[in-house]
Symmetry: C2
Subunit: 292 residues, 2 copies
Amino acid sequence: MIEMISIGKEVISDYRCFFCFARAFERMLERDNLSTEEKKFFARDMFGLFDKGKNDLSIPELSRKLHVLFKHYSNNPDPYQDVKKSSNDLVLAMYPELKNMVFNSANHFDTALRLAIAGNIIDFGLSNDFNLQGTIDKVFNSDFAIDDSVQLKQALFEAKTVLYLGDNCGEMVFDKLFIETLMHPNLFYAVRGAPVINDATVDDAKYVGIDVVADVISNGYDAPSTILDHCSDEFIDVFNRADVIISKGQGNLEGLLGYKNKDIYFLLMVKCEVIADTLNVKKGDFVVKKQD
Amino acid sequence: MIEMISIGKEVISDYRCFFCFARAFERMLERDNLSTEEKKFFARDMFGLFDKGKNDLSIPELSRKLHVLFKHYSNNPDPYQDVKKSSNDLVLAMYPELKNMVFNSANHFDTALRLAIAGNIIDFGLSNDFNLQGTIDKVFNSDFAIDDSVQLKQALFEAKTVLYLGDNCGEMVFDKLFIETLMHPNLFYAVRGAPVINDATVDDAKYVGIDVVADVISNGYDAPSTILDHCSDEFIDVFNRADVIISKGQGNLEGLLGYKNKDIYFLLMVKCEVIADTLNVKKGDFVVKKQD
């Protein structure tokens, strides 16, 4: 049995999350081909879940349920399939240039780490608009708002087993470059158990070739997060064995923040005020945070 | 007993209204001084009402309940008091110039009617941003998308009693000018029974001097609409006696569309896709529509 300290619940009962979901699904309904009647019923069920979510569900669980509902209504198990492929293709096209950036830089680790964090901007959960090149430029001209990167580098050097929790398609190509740079001999790359938003699955991971540089595993669950209570035994086994865990993005952080039994490093771009307030940083900041 | 044909219910169960409310109250929470805890409880109760609204409440009734809730949480019976005063002051400052426009124009009725409809843009229920001057310019360079203005003019000429259903502060100053132009000897101007959004109340009407050109009455209810089932006996008496009813804005239309027993003219600027679809016109259109 895994012991969870559910600080997550506090982050996560923030009222602003509900309004953010309302905006996100309003955008999804606008671009989807559901009938007006279906959209109405979706909205009804969605606000019904909000009502339930106020007490019973953490935000990543609520998010999962909302996306399960949307997939049901749209009769499409992977509504972001096209978006995911185009994000992956976009960054794969940049990959040779990014690789040159890393290996021509003075500090390979730092450059690849910064790129991996900048890649976290590719997140369709919060917005359909993002400026990838602007974010890359910014990450090289900013200090990390929380910077435990020295500890991370040391911990990776000492770790026998590393578990890297992936987040979004497109972003994953940056992860691949970071992982190549690390050259760790025993690194697992975990993805979602099934499609949710533009989060990476095993198929997506193979599409960009992460399986060449890491052991790709599914976490066995389709929340846009890592919710240990629901992850597969295979995933939990690797999680327990890992000496260092790299957690990418807000969703994984929401599931794991407060879980004190493991050496977890949260790598993310801060994309909303709720997470900004939680970490005591600003929206738009870049973070490398060791679990307290 | 008033017979209602509740076409309104159909307009109004549109799923888009719920998302619009979510956006509107998110903006209100952002500018209000509620604590995070209070905002959370407000959001909880709000989404609870959404859940209820899916079956039991019309959109104007739901809107009313949401604003009652907000007033309760913010401990402020009139959260838009400042906004209402500044809208009134803004248009009062323009008033001499607007009056010159009307009385120097070739067609006083048409000019004052167009200004009264342009003034309907001053609506904080949907957005905090509006371009009043741009809307005035546009109304003089557009055809009405539905134009029953000739019938309206004739009906007003023949009517013994006219009831004018006001809508928003600021807009009311345009109404005053239109009413002055009509010079009808027996015209009632109805306002909300208590503050809701930036809708006009008796105090607001007196502030801009509408009581000089019309008999100001309260409708006795605090929905941002005219919901006959809840209006005061005094209002219903005038409503029943009126030969012509002028209904300003979307809110009044939502309450009265489909009420076939009276000669109602809906004057409005179309400010959302739901009303646009209902009237088979476009968002941004200007409308003078006789009740079918």
